[in-house]
Amino acid sequence: MSKYIIKRILVMIPVFFGMTALVFFLSNMTPGSPVDAMITPEMSVEDVEVLRHRMGLDQPVYVQYVKWLGRMLEGNLGNSYRTSNPVIKDIGERVVPTLILTLTVLAVGVVVGVTLGVLAACRPYSIWDTLASGLSFVGSGMPGFFIALLLVYCFSVKLGWLPTGGMYSNAGTRAFGDLARHMVLPTISMAMASAGNYIRQTRSAMLEVMGEEYVKMARAKGMREPVVLYVHALRNALLPIVTSIGMSVPGLVGGAVIIEQIFGWPGMGTLMVLSVTYRDYPVIMGITMYITIAVLFTNLVMDLLYAVLDPRIRN
Protein backbone atom coordinates (compact mmCIF):
# COMPACT_ATOMS: atom_id res chain seq x y z
CA MET A 1 0.00 0.00 0.00
CA SER A 2 2.78 2.41 0.85
CA LYS A 3 4.55 1.35 -2.33
CA TYR A 4 1.46 2.38 -4.21
CA ILE A 5 1.47 5.83 -2.58
CA ILE A 6 5.15 6.37 -3.27
CA LYS A 7 4.69 5.37 -6.88
CA ARG A 8 1.88 7.87 -7.27
CA ILE A 9 3.95 10.65 -5.70
CA LEU A 10 6.92 9.90 -7.96
CA VAL A 11 4.69 10.24 -10.98
CA MET A 12 3.62 13.69 -9.88
CA ILE A 13 7.11 15.18 -10.07
CA PRO A 14 7.62 15.17 -13.84
CA VAL A 15 4.05 16.40 -14.22
CA PHE A 16 4.82 19.36 -12.00
CA PHE A 17 7.92 20.29 -13.95
CA GLY A 18 6.21 19.71 -17.26
CA MET A 19 3.26 21.87 -16.41
CA THR A 20 5.17 24.79 -14.98
CA ALA A 21 7.70 24.70 -17.80
CA LEU A 22 4.93 24.68 -20.36
CA VAL A 23 3.21 27.70 -18.89
CA PHE A 24 6.51 29.50 -18.42
CA PHE A 25 7.52 29.09 -22.03
CA LEU A 26 4.07 29.98 -23.24
CA SER A 27 3.86 33.14 -21.18
CA ASN A 28 7.19 34.11 -22.56
CA MET A 29 5.93 33.81 -26.07
CA THR A 30 3.23 36.41 -25.57
CA PRO A 31 3.78 39.53 -27.58
CA GLY A 32 4.94 42.42 -25.52
CA SER A 33 6.94 42.13 -22.39
CA PRO A 34 6.39 43.41 -18.89
CA VAL A 35 8.99 46.01 -19.46
CA ASP A 36 6.65 47.77 -21.85
CA ALA A 37 4.41 48.73 -18.98
CA MET A 38 7.29 50.32 -17.17
CA ILE A 39 8.79 52.37 -19.93
CA THR A 40 8.45 56.10 -19.52
CA PRO A 41 9.18 58.59 -22.31
CA GLU A 42 12.26 59.88 -20.52
CA MET A 43 14.02 56.56 -20.66
CA SER A 44 16.63 56.01 -23.33
CA VAL A 45 17.27 52.75 -25.11
CA GLU A 46 20.12 51.99 -22.74
CA ASP A 47 17.89 52.57 -19.75
CA VAL A 48 15.41 50.08 -21.14
CA GLU A 49 18.22 47.61 -21.65
CA VAL A 50 19.37 48.09 -18.09
CA LEU A 51 15.82 47.53 -16.92
CA ARG A 52 15.54 44.38 -18.97
CA HIS A 53 18.82 43.12 -17.68
CA ARG A 54 17.84 43.79 -14.10
CA MET A 55 14.62 41.89 -14.57
CA GLY A 56 16.61 39.08 -16.09
CA LEU A 57 14.64 39.31 -19.33
CA ASP A 58 17.61 39.32 -21.67
CA GLN A 59 18.59 35.77 -20.88
CA PRO A 60 17.48 32.70 -22.83
CA VAL A 61 14.09 31.36 -21.78
CA TYR A 62 15.26 28.08 -20.33
CA VAL A 63 17.75 29.90 -18.15
CA GLN A 64 15.00 32.14 -16.90
CA TYR A 65 12.90 29.04 -16.15
CA VAL A 66 15.65 27.36 -14.18
CA LYS A 67 16.25 30.56 -12.26
CA TRP A 68 12.54 30.75 -11.52
CA LEU A 69 12.55 27.16 -10.29
CA GLY A 70 15.49 27.84 -8.06
CA ARG A 71 13.85 30.83 -6.47
CA MET A 72 10.58 28.98 -6.15
CA LEU A 73 12.17 26.15 -4.23
CA GLU A 74 13.50 28.73 -1.84
CA GLY A 75 10.00 30.07 -1.44
CA ASN A 76 10.55 33.22 -3.45
CA LEU A 77 8.06 33.66 -6.24
CA GLY A 78 9.16 37.13 -7.14
CA ASN A 79 7.11 40.27 -7.23
CA SER A 80 4.06 41.06 -9.25
CA TYR A 81 4.73 43.32 -12.19
CA ARG A 82 1.37 44.87 -11.65
CA THR A 83 1.24 45.54 -7.94
CA SER A 84 4.93 45.17 -7.02
CA ASN A 85 3.86 43.06 -4.07
CA PRO A 86 5.49 39.72 -3.47
CA VAL A 87 3.60 37.20 -5.54
CA ILE A 88 3.13 35.02 -2.51
CA LYS A 89 1.30 37.81 -0.76
CA ASP A 90 -0.93 38.62 -3.70
CA ILE A 91 -1.84 35.03 -4.25
CA GLY A 92 -1.93 34.21 -0.57
CA GLU A 93 -4.76 36.54 0.22
CA ARG A 94 -6.75 35.04 -2.63
CA VAL A 95 -6.29 31.36 -1.92
CA VAL A 96 -8.75 31.05 0.92
CA PRO A 97 -11.76 32.59 -0.85
CA THR A 98 -11.23 30.37 -3.85
CA LEU A 99 -10.81 27.33 -1.66
CA ILE A 100 -13.98 28.10 0.25
CA LEU A 101 -15.94 28.46 -2.94
CA THR A 102 -14.47 25.47 -4.77
CA LEU A 103 -14.73 23.07 -1.87
CA THR A 104 -18.31 24.08 -1.18
CA VAL A 105 -19.23 23.62 -4.81
CA LEU A 106 -17.57 20.21 -4.82
CA ALA A 107 -19.36 19.14 -1.66
CA VAL A 108 -22.77 20.38 -2.78
CA GLY A 109 -22.35 18.94 -6.25
CA VAL A 110 -21.29 15.52 -4.97
CA VAL A 111 -24.00 15.27 -2.33
CA VAL A 112 -26.79 16.39 -4.63
CA GLY A 113 -25.47 14.62 -7.70
CA VAL A 114 -24.70 11.25 -6.18
CA THR A 115 -27.89 11.16 -4.12
CA LEU A 116 -30.10 12.01 -7.06
CA GLY A 117 -28.19 9.63 -9.29
CA VAL A 118 -28.68 6.74 -6.89
CA LEU A 119 -32.35 7.54 -6.43
CA ALA A 120 -32.87 7.82 -10.16
CA ALA A 121 -31.28 4.42 -10.71
CA CYS A 122 -33.13 2.66 -7.89
CA ARG A 123 -36.51 4.16 -8.60
CA PRO A 124 -36.86 4.48 -12.34
CA TYR A 125 -39.72 6.56 -13.70
CA SER A 126 -40.30 8.13 -10.30
CA ILE A 127 -40.19 11.80 -9.41
CA TRP A 128 -36.52 11.40 -8.55
CA ASP A 129 -35.74 10.09 -11.98
CA THR A 130 -37.45 13.05 -13.59
CA LEU A 131 -35.77 15.50 -11.27
CA ALA A 132 -32.42 13.91 -11.93
CA SER A 133 -32.87 13.98 -15.68
CA GLY A 134 -33.97 17.59 -15.56
CA LEU A 135 -31.03 18.75 -13.50
CA SER A 136 -28.64 16.77 -15.63
CA PHE A 137 -30.08 18.40 -18.74
CA VAL A 138 -29.71 21.89 -17.31
CA GLY A 139 -26.22 21.22 -16.05
CA SER A 140 -24.92 19.96 -19.34
CA GLY A 141 -26.46 22.64 -21.51
CA MET A 142 -26.31 25.84 -19.57
CA PRO A 143 -22.93 27.45 -19.13
CA GLY A 144 -22.20 28.52 -15.59
CA PHE A 145 -22.02 32.18 -16.44
CA PHE A 146 -25.49 32.22 -17.96
CA ILE A 147 -26.97 30.45 -14.99
CA ALA A 148 -25.20 32.96 -12.78
CA LEU A 149 -26.60 35.94 -14.66
CA LEU A 150 -30.10 34.51 -14.64
CA LEU A 151 -29.89 33.80 -10.93
CA VAL A 152 -28.61 37.28 -10.18
CA TYR A 153 -31.33 38.78 -12.34
CA CYS A 154 -33.98 36.77 -10.61
CA PHE A 155 -32.90 36.66 -6.99
CA SER A 156 -30.84 39.77 -6.54
CA VAL A 157 -32.29 42.28 -8.88
CA LYS A 158 -35.92 41.38 -9.07
CA LEU A 159 -36.44 39.80 -5.69
CA GLY A 160 -33.68 41.37 -3.69
CA TRP A 161 -33.19 38.29 -1.55
CA LEU A 162 -29.50 37.77 -2.15
CA PRO A 163 -26.55 40.05 -2.79
CA THR A 164 -25.25 40.55 -6.31
CA GLY A 165 -21.63 39.98 -5.60
CA GLY A 166 -18.65 40.22 -3.37
CA MET A 167 -17.80 37.97 -0.53
CA TYR A 168 -19.00 40.00 2.40
CA SER A 169 -21.14 43.06 2.80
CA ASN A 170 -19.12 46.18 3.20
CA ALA A 171 -19.82 46.48 6.88
CA GLY A 172 -16.54 44.66 7.48
CA THR A 173 -17.65 42.10 10.00
CA ARG A 174 -16.88 38.62 8.79
CA ALA A 175 -20.05 37.00 9.92
CA PHE A 176 -20.66 33.45 8.79
CA GLY A 177 -24.26 34.16 7.93
CA ASP A 178 -23.19 37.03 5.73
CA LEU A 179 -20.65 34.84 3.99
CA ALA A 180 -23.25 32.17 3.49
CA ARG A 181 -25.65 34.62 1.87
CA HIS A 182 -22.96 35.76 -0.51
CA MET A 183 -22.05 32.21 -1.36
CA VAL A 184 -25.48 30.97 -2.35
CA LEU A 185 -25.63 32.23 -5.91
CA PRO A 186 -22.03 31.53 -6.93
CA THR A 187 -22.26 28.03 -5.49
CA ILE A 188 -25.50 27.20 -7.25
CA SER A 189 -24.18 28.55 -10.54
CA MET A 190 -21.16 26.29 -10.44
CA ALA A 191 -22.71 23.33 -8.74
CA MET A 192 -25.44 22.87 -11.32
CA ALA A 193 -23.04 21.77 -13.99
CA SER A 194 -21.12 19.52 -11.60
CA ALA A 195 -24.23 18.00 -10.11
CA GLY A 196 -25.65 17.36 -13.56
CA ASN A 197 -22.50 15.49 -14.49
CA TYR A 198 -22.38 13.46 -11.27
CA ILE A 199 -26.02 12.52 -11.64
CA ARG A 200 -25.38 11.04 -15.04
CA GLN A 201 -22.26 9.17 -13.97
CA THR A 202 -23.82 7.88 -10.76
CA ARG A 203 -26.99 6.75 -12.43
CA SER A 204 -25.20 4.82 -15.14
CA ALA A 205 -22.72 3.31 -12.67
CA MET A 206 -25.54 2.19 -10.38
CA LEU A 207 -27.58 0.74 -13.23
CA GLU A 208 -24.61 -1.24 -14.43
CA VAL A 209 -23.83 -2.59 -10.98
CA MET A 210 -27.44 -3.44 -10.26
CA GLY A 211 -27.37 -5.90 -13.14
CA GLU A 212 -24.37 -7.76 -11.74
CA GLU A 213 -24.50 -11.32 -10.55
CA TYR A 214 -23.46 -10.58 -6.96
CA VAL A 215 -26.43 -8.26 -6.52
CA LYS A 216 -28.71 -11.11 -7.58
CA MET A 217 -26.89 -13.38 -5.15
CA ALA A 218 -27.32 -10.83 -2.34
CA ARG A 219 -31.06 -10.91 -2.98
CA ALA A 220 -31.06 -14.70 -3.13
CA LYS A 221 -29.32 -14.73 0.24
CA GLY A 222 -32.36 -13.03 1.66
CA MET A 223 -30.83 -9.61 2.28
CA ARG A 224 -33.40 -6.87 2.36
CA GLU A 225 -33.61 -4.55 -0.63
CA PRO A 226 -32.12 -1.43 1.04
CA VAL A 227 -29.07 -3.47 2.05
CA VAL A 228 -28.76 -4.89 -1.45
CA LEU A 229 -28.89 -1.46 -3.04
CA TYR A 230 -27.00 0.72 -0.62
CA VAL A 231 -24.46 -1.72 0.75
CA HIS A 232 -23.77 -4.17 -2.05
CA ALA A 233 -24.55 -2.19 -5.15
CA LEU A 234 -23.61 1.36 -4.20
CA ARG A 235 -20.30 0.33 -2.70
CA ASN A 236 -19.23 -1.06 -6.06
CA ALA A 237 -20.70 1.80 -8.02
CA LEU A 238 -18.60 4.21 -5.97
CA LEU A 239 -15.49 3.13 -7.83
CA PRO A 240 -16.36 4.63 -11.20
CA ILE A 241 -18.15 7.49 -9.45
CA VAL A 242 -15.02 8.50 -7.56
CA THR A 243 -13.02 8.30 -10.76
CA SER A 244 -15.35 10.68 -12.53
CA ILE A 245 -15.43 13.07 -9.57
CA GLY A 246 -11.65 13.13 -9.66
CA MET A 247 -11.64 13.87 -13.35
CA SER A 248 -14.08 16.73 -12.91
CA VAL A 249 -11.92 18.66 -10.45
CA PRO A 250 -9.80 20.46 -13.10
CA GLY A 251 -13.06 21.66 -14.63
CA LEU A 252 -14.14 23.04 -11.28
CA VAL A 253 -10.99 25.10 -11.02
CA GLY A 254 -11.59 26.50 -14.48
CA GLY A 255 -15.24 27.21 -13.82
CA ALA A 256 -14.31 29.12 -10.72
CA VAL A 257 -12.50 31.68 -12.86
CA ILE A 258 -15.63 32.78 -14.68
CA ILE A 259 -17.92 32.70 -11.68
CA GLU A 260 -15.48 34.65 -9.57
CA GLN A 261 -15.36 37.25 -12.29
CA ILE A 262 -19.14 37.64 -12.37
CA PHE A 263 -19.61 37.83 -8.64
CA GLY A 264 -16.52 39.87 -7.95
CA TRP A 265 -15.32 37.11 -5.69
CA PRO A 266 -11.86 38.02 -4.36
CA GLY A 267 -10.23 34.76 -5.32
CA MET A 268 -7.47 33.40 -7.54
CA GLY A 269 -9.74 33.36 -10.56
CA THR A 270 -10.16 37.10 -10.75
CA LEU A 271 -6.43 37.50 -10.10
CA MET A 272 -5.69 35.17 -13.00
CA VAL A 273 -7.80 37.17 -15.41
CA LEU A 274 -6.16 40.39 -14.30
CA SER A 275 -2.68 38.93 -14.57
CA VAL A 276 -3.27 37.51 -18.01
CA THR A 277 -4.54 40.84 -19.20
CA TYR A 278 -1.50 42.63 -17.73
CA ARG A 279 1.03 40.00 -18.78
CA ASP A 280 2.09 39.75 -15.17
CA TYR A 281 4.34 36.67 -15.56
CA PRO A 282 5.33 36.15 -11.95
CA VAL A 283 1.73 36.01 -10.83
CA ILE A 284 0.72 33.85 -13.77
CA MET A 285 3.50 31.43 -12.91
CA GLY A 286 2.62 31.55 -9.24
CA ILE A 287 -1.02 30.74 -9.84
CA THR A 288 -0.05 27.98 -12.25
CA MET A 289 2.16 26.49 -9.59
CA TYR A 290 -0.62 26.59 -7.04
CA ILE A 291 -3.09 25.04 -9.42
CA THR A 292 -0.67 22.34 -10.45
CA ILE A 293 0.02 21.44 -6.85
CA ALA A 294 -3.69 21.49 -6.06
CA VAL A 295 -4.52 19.24 -8.99
CA LEU A 296 -1.73 16.81 -8.20
CA PHE A 297 -2.78 16.72 -4.59
CA THR A 298 -6.37 16.04 -5.59
CA ASN A 299 -5.23 13.22 -7.86
CA LEU A 300 -3.30 11.71 -5.01
CA VAL A 301 -6.30 11.90 -2.71
CA MET A 302 -8.43 10.28 -5.38
CA ASP A 303 -5.90 7.52 -5.87
CA LEU A 304 -5.84 6.84 -2.15
CA LEU A 305 -9.60 6.86 -2.00
CA TYR A 306 -9.69 4.40 -4.84
CA ALA A 307 -7.31 2.09 -3.03
CA VAL A 308 -9.47 2.24 0.07
CA LEU A 309 -12.58 1.42 -1.89
CA ASP A 310 -11.24 -1.31 -4.15
CA PRO A 311 -9.28 -4.12 -2.54
CA ARG A 312 -8.04 -5.27 -5.90
CA ILE A 313 -5.98 -2.12 -6.31
CA ARG A 314 -4.17 -2.45 -3.04
CA ASN A 315 -1.75 -4.97 -4.42
Partner: protein, 284 residues
Protein backbone atom coordinates in the same frame (compact mmCIF):
# COMPACT_ATOMS: atom_id res chain seq x y z
CA UNK B 1 -22.85 -5.46 -47.73
CA UNK B 2 -22.62 -5.80 -44.00
CA UNK B 3 -21.74 -2.16 -43.53
CA UNK B 4 -24.91 -1.04 -45.28
CA UNK B 5 -27.16 -3.09 -43.07
CA UNK B 6 -25.46 -1.69 -40.01
CA UNK B 7 -25.84 1.87 -41.23
CA UNK B 8 -29.45 1.34 -42.15
CA UNK B 9 -30.12 -0.11 -38.71
CA UNK B 10 -28.32 2.76 -37.05
CA UNK B 11 -30.24 5.39 -38.98
CA UNK B 12 -33.47 3.61 -38.09
CA UNK B 13 -32.56 3.57 -34.43
CA UNK B 14 -31.65 7.23 -34.50
CA UNK B 15 -34.95 8.17 -36.07
CA UNK B 16 -36.81 6.32 -33.37
CA UNK B 17 -34.98 8.29 -30.69
CA UNK B 18 -37.52 11.07 -30.59
CA UNK B 19 -35.57 13.60 -28.57
CA UNK B 20 -32.53 13.28 -30.81
CA UNK B 21 -34.64 13.61 -33.93
CA UNK B 22 -36.36 16.73 -32.67
CA UNK B 23 -33.01 18.20 -31.67
CA UNK B 24 -31.54 17.39 -35.04
CA UNK B 25 -34.42 19.11 -36.79
CA UNK B 26 -34.01 22.18 -34.61
CA UNK B 27 -30.30 22.24 -35.35
CA UNK B 28 -30.81 21.90 -39.06
CA UNK B 29 -33.32 24.74 -39.01
CA UNK B 30 -30.89 26.80 -37.01
CA UNK B 31 -28.00 26.16 -39.36
CA UNK B 32 -30.18 26.93 -42.34
CA UNK B 33 -31.25 30.22 -40.76
CA UNK B 34 -27.68 31.13 -40.03
CA UNK B 35 -26.63 30.40 -43.57
CA UNK B 36 -29.62 31.63 -45.51
CA UNK B 37 -31.25 34.44 -43.56
CA UNK B 38 -28.44 36.90 -44.26
CA UNK B 39 -29.09 36.31 -47.95
CA UNK B 40 -32.81 36.81 -47.72
CA UNK B 41 -33.13 39.53 -45.16
CA UNK B 42 -31.12 42.64 -44.87
CA UNK B 43 -29.07 41.77 -41.83
CA UNK B 44 -26.32 44.02 -40.66
CA UNK B 45 -24.56 43.16 -37.44
CA UNK B 46 -21.89 45.82 -37.62
CA UNK B 47 -23.53 49.12 -38.38
CA UNK B 48 -24.40 51.39 -35.52
CA UNK B 49 -27.64 53.14 -36.09
CA UNK B 50 -27.32 56.61 -34.62
CA UNK B 51 -30.06 57.51 -32.23
CA UNK B 52 -31.03 53.89 -31.81
CA UNK B 53 -28.93 53.01 -28.80
CA UNK B 54 -30.35 50.55 -26.30
CA UNK B 55 -33.67 50.15 -28.01
CA UNK B 56 -36.01 47.54 -26.70
CA UNK B 57 -37.37 45.00 -29.20
CA UNK B 58 -39.74 46.69 -31.60
CA UNK B 59 -40.91 46.85 -35.20
CA UNK B 60 -37.62 47.69 -36.71
CA UNK B 61 -35.28 45.63 -34.56
CA UNK B 62 -36.58 42.19 -33.71
CA UNK B 63 -34.45 41.85 -30.64
CA UNK B 64 -33.66 45.49 -30.06
CA UNK B 65 -30.27 47.16 -30.25
CA UNK B 66 -27.18 47.20 -28.13
CA UNK B 67 -25.33 50.08 -26.50
CA UNK B 68 -23.93 51.40 -29.76
CA UNK B 69 -27.05 50.91 -31.77
CA UNK B 70 -26.34 47.64 -33.53
CA UNK B 71 -29.15 45.26 -34.43
CA UNK B 72 -29.11 42.43 -31.94
CA UNK B 73 -31.01 39.98 -34.11
CA UNK B 74 -28.41 40.28 -36.86
CA UNK B 75 -25.68 39.90 -34.29
CA UNK B 76 -27.20 36.73 -32.99
CA UNK B 77 -27.40 35.24 -36.46
CA UNK B 78 -23.85 36.22 -37.29
CA UNK B 79 -22.71 35.19 -33.85
CA UNK B 80 -24.09 31.78 -34.60
CA UNK B 81 -21.79 31.53 -37.58
CA UNK B 82 -18.76 32.27 -35.47
CA UNK B 83 -19.72 30.07 -32.53
CA UNK B 84 -20.74 27.10 -34.63
CA UNK B 85 -17.74 27.26 -36.90
CA UNK B 86 -15.33 27.58 -34.00
CA UNK B 87 -16.99 24.64 -32.32
CA UNK B 88 -16.99 22.49 -35.39
CA UNK B 89 -13.52 23.25 -36.68
CA UNK B 90 -11.89 22.97 -33.27
CA UNK B 91 -13.54 19.58 -32.77
CA UNK B 92 -12.26 18.48 -36.16
CA UNK B 93 -8.72 19.55 -35.36
CA UNK B 94 -8.89 17.69 -32.07
CA UNK B 95 -10.13 14.59 -33.84
CA UNK B 96 -7.40 14.75 -36.44
CA UNK B 97 -4.82 14.87 -33.67
CA UNK B 98 -6.45 12.58 -31.16
CA UNK B 99 -7.62 9.67 -33.27
CA UNK B 100 -4.26 8.82 -34.87
CA UNK B 101 -2.56 9.18 -31.50
CA UNK B 102 -5.07 6.82 -30.00
CA UNK B 103 -4.51 4.31 -32.79
CA UNK B 104 -0.77 4.44 -32.31
CA UNK B 105 -0.95 4.23 -28.54
CA UNK B 106 -3.25 1.24 -28.70
CA UNK B 107 -1.49 -0.59 -31.46
CA UNK B 108 2.15 -0.35 -30.53
CA UNK B 109 3.10 -2.28 -27.49
CA UNK B 110 6.27 -0.43 -26.57
CA UNK B 111 7.28 2.79 -24.80
CA UNK B 112 5.37 4.94 -27.28
CA UNK B 113 2.13 3.88 -25.67
CA UNK B 114 3.36 4.89 -22.22
CA UNK B 115 4.55 8.29 -23.39
CA UNK B 116 1.36 9.12 -25.24
CA UNK B 117 -0.96 8.06 -22.45
CA UNK B 118 1.09 9.89 -19.87
CA UNK B 119 0.82 13.08 -21.92
CA UNK B 120 -2.92 12.49 -22.09
CA UNK B 121 -3.03 12.17 -18.30
CA UNK B 122 -1.13 15.41 -17.86
CA UNK B 123 -3.32 17.32 -20.30
CA UNK B 124 -6.47 16.03 -18.72
CA UNK B 125 -5.46 16.82 -15.20
CA UNK B 126 -4.93 20.48 -15.84
CA UNK B 127 -7.76 23.02 -15.82
CA UNK B 128 -8.47 23.58 -19.47
CA UNK B 129 -9.64 27.14 -19.08
CA UNK B 130 -6.38 28.23 -17.52
CA UNK B 131 -4.25 26.87 -20.33
CA UNK B 132 -6.70 28.29 -22.86
CA UNK B 133 -6.36 31.70 -21.27
CA UNK B 134 -2.59 31.62 -21.41
CA UNK B 135 -2.53 30.34 -24.99
CA UNK B 136 -4.98 32.96 -26.11
CA UNK B 137 -2.71 35.70 -24.84
CA UNK B 138 0.14 34.17 -26.79
CA UNK B 139 -1.75 33.86 -30.03
CA UNK B 140 -3.97 36.85 -29.63
CA UNK B 141 -7.70 36.62 -29.17
CA UNK B 142 -9.73 35.91 -32.28
CA UNK B 143 -11.99 33.29 -33.72
CA UNK B 144 -9.11 31.73 -35.62
CA UNK B 145 -6.82 31.50 -32.61
CA UNK B 146 -9.64 30.00 -30.59
CA UNK B 147 -10.09 27.31 -33.19
CA UNK B 148 -6.43 26.46 -32.87
CA UNK B 149 -6.31 26.66 -29.09
CA UNK B 150 -9.44 24.59 -28.51
CA UNK B 151 -8.44 22.23 -31.26
CA UNK B 152 -4.95 21.62 -29.93
CA UNK B 153 -6.16 21.18 -26.36
CA UNK B 154 -9.18 19.01 -26.96
CA UNK B 155 -7.64 15.86 -28.45
CA UNK B 156 -7.23 13.86 -25.25
CA UNK B 157 -10.79 12.57 -25.13
CA UNK B 158 -10.48 11.04 -28.58
CA UNK B 159 -7.15 9.46 -27.79
CA UNK B 160 -8.37 7.74 -24.65
CA UNK B 161 -11.46 6.47 -26.43
CA UNK B 162 -9.68 5.17 -29.51
CA UNK B 163 -6.93 3.70 -27.36
CA UNK B 164 -9.29 1.50 -25.37
CA UNK B 165 -11.20 0.50 -28.49
CA UNK B 166 -7.98 -0.46 -30.25
CA UNK B 167 -6.90 -2.57 -27.31
CA UNK B 168 -10.08 -4.59 -27.41
CA UNK B 169 -10.31 -4.87 -31.19
CA UNK B 170 -6.66 -5.80 -31.57
CA UNK B 171 -7.40 -9.18 -30.03
CA UNK B 172 -10.07 -10.00 -32.55
CA UNK B 173 -9.47 -12.85 -34.89
CA UNK B 174 -9.81 -10.93 -38.11
CA UNK B 175 -7.03 -8.59 -37.14
CA UNK B 176 -4.79 -11.53 -36.44
CA UNK B 177 -5.83 -12.96 -39.77
CA UNK B 178 -4.86 -9.74 -41.49
CA UNK B 179 -1.53 -9.76 -39.72
CA UNK B 180 -0.80 -13.29 -40.75
CA UNK B 181 -1.53 -12.56 -44.39
CA UNK B 182 1.10 -9.88 -44.33
CA UNK B 183 -0.79 -6.66 -43.82
CA UNK B 184 1.46 -3.84 -42.74
CA UNK B 185 0.94 -2.18 -39.38
CA UNK B 186 -0.55 0.85 -41.05
CA UNK B 187 -2.98 -1.23 -43.07
CA UNK B 188 -4.05 -3.14 -39.99
CA UNK B 189 -4.67 0.03 -38.11
CA UNK B 190 -6.51 1.89 -40.79
CA UNK B 191 -8.43 -0.79 -42.63
CA UNK B 192 -9.35 -3.14 -39.84
CA UNK B 193 -9.18 -1.44 -36.48
CA UNK B 194 -10.18 2.12 -37.27
CA UNK B 195 -13.67 1.38 -38.67
CA UNK B 196 -14.61 -0.22 -35.39
CA UNK B 197 -13.54 2.78 -33.41
CA UNK B 198 -15.34 5.30 -35.59
CA UNK B 199 -18.77 4.99 -33.99
CA UNK B 200 -17.74 6.32 -30.57
CA UNK B 201 -15.54 8.88 -32.31
CA UNK B 202 -18.60 10.41 -33.95
CA UNK B 203 -20.39 10.50 -30.62
CA UNK B 204 -17.40 12.18 -29.00
CA UNK B 205 -17.22 14.60 -31.90
CA UNK B 206 -20.72 15.89 -31.32
CA UNK B 207 -20.14 16.32 -27.59
CA UNK B 208 -16.85 18.04 -28.43
CA UNK B 209 -18.61 20.55 -30.66
CA UNK B 210 -20.99 21.39 -27.84
CA UNK B 211 -18.12 21.65 -25.39
CA UNK B 212 -16.14 23.91 -27.70
CA UNK B 213 -19.08 26.21 -28.20
CA UNK B 214 -19.39 26.50 -24.43
CA UNK B 215 -15.66 27.07 -24.05
CA UNK B 216 -15.59 29.73 -26.76
CA UNK B 217 -18.52 31.52 -25.19
CA UNK B 218 -16.84 31.37 -21.80
CA UNK B 219 -13.62 32.87 -23.10
CA UNK B 220 -15.47 35.52 -25.10
CA UNK B 221 -17.49 36.31 -22.03
CA UNK B 222 -14.28 37.00 -20.16
CA UNK B 223 -13.10 39.20 -22.98
CA UNK B 224 -10.38 36.73 -23.90
CA UNK B 225 -12.11 35.19 -26.88
CA UNK B 226 -13.56 36.63 -30.03
CA UNK B 227 -13.17 40.37 -29.90
CA UNK B 228 -15.72 43.02 -30.69
CA UNK B 229 -17.08 44.12 -33.04
CA UNK B 230 -17.37 40.53 -34.27
CA UNK B 231 -20.38 39.16 -32.45
CA UNK B 232 -20.45 35.82 -30.74
CA UNK B 233 -23.03 34.63 -28.28
CA UNK B 234 -20.46 34.71 -25.49
CA UNK B 235 -19.35 38.28 -25.93
CA UNK B 236 -22.91 39.44 -26.34
CA UNK B 237 -23.68 38.09 -22.89
CA UNK B 238 -20.63 39.89 -21.62
CA UNK B 239 -22.54 43.16 -21.67
CA UNK B 240 -24.73 41.85 -18.90
CA UNK B 241 -21.89 42.23 -16.48
CA UNK B 242 -22.80 45.85 -16.06
CA UNK B 243 -25.58 46.08 -13.58
CA UNK B 244 -27.67 48.48 -15.62
CA UNK B 245 -27.70 46.23 -18.63
CA UNK B 246 -28.47 43.23 -16.48
CA UNK B 247 -31.35 44.92 -14.80
CA UNK B 248 -32.94 47.10 -17.43
CA UNK B 249 -32.01 45.72 -20.79
CA UNK B 250 -32.58 41.96 -20.72
CA UNK B 251 -32.96 41.78 -24.49
CA UNK B 252 -29.28 42.38 -24.85
CA UNK B 253 -28.19 39.20 -23.21
CA UNK B 254 -31.09 36.82 -22.66
CA UNK B 255 -31.77 35.97 -26.32
CA UNK B 256 -28.11 35.25 -26.94
CA UNK B 257 -28.01 33.06 -23.87
CA UNK B 258 -31.17 31.19 -24.78
CA UNK B 259 -29.91 30.50 -28.28
CA UNK B 260 -26.59 29.34 -26.85
CA UNK B 261 -28.21 26.98 -24.37
CA UNK B 262 -30.70 25.67 -26.91
CA UNK B 263 -27.95 24.95 -29.43
CA UNK B 264 -25.72 23.19 -26.93
CA UNK B 265 -28.58 21.13 -25.52
CA UNK B 266 -29.70 20.08 -28.98
CA UNK B 267 -26.18 19.05 -29.94
CA UNK B 268 -25.92 17.04 -26.72
CA UNK B 269 -29.18 15.27 -27.47
CA UNK B 270 -28.05 14.49 -30.99
CA UNK B 271 -24.89 13.06 -29.45
CA UNK B 272 -27.01 10.91 -27.14
CA UNK B 273 -29.04 9.79 -30.11
CA UNK B 274 -25.90 8.89 -32.02
CA UNK B 275 -24.66 6.89 -29.10
CA UNK B 276 -27.91 4.95 -28.88
CA UNK B 277 -28.08 4.49 -32.62
CA UNK B 278 -24.58 3.14 -33.03
CA UNK B 279 -24.59 0.80 -30.07
CA UNK B 280 -27.08 -2.03 -30.66
CA UNK B 281 -27.04 -2.98 -27.01
CA UNK B 282 -28.60 0.24 -25.79
CA UNK B 283 -32.37 0.09 -25.67
CA UNK B 284 -34.21 3.06 -27.09
Amino acid sequence: MKKNVFLRDAVGRFVRHRVAMVSLIILVLEILSILLLPLILDLDPFTSYPGQFNQAPGNRFLFGTDAVGRDIFSRIIYGGRVSLSVGFIAASISALIGVPLGLIAGFYDNGVRGVIMRIVDIFMSFPALVIQMVLVTVLGASARSLMLVLGFLGWTGYTRLVYSKVLSVKQEVYVEAARSTGATNLTQMVRYILPNAMAPVFVTFSFAVAGNILAESGLSFLGLGVQLPTPTWGNMIRDAQTLSTLMYRPWMWIPAGVVLVATVVCINFVGDGLRAALDPKIKI
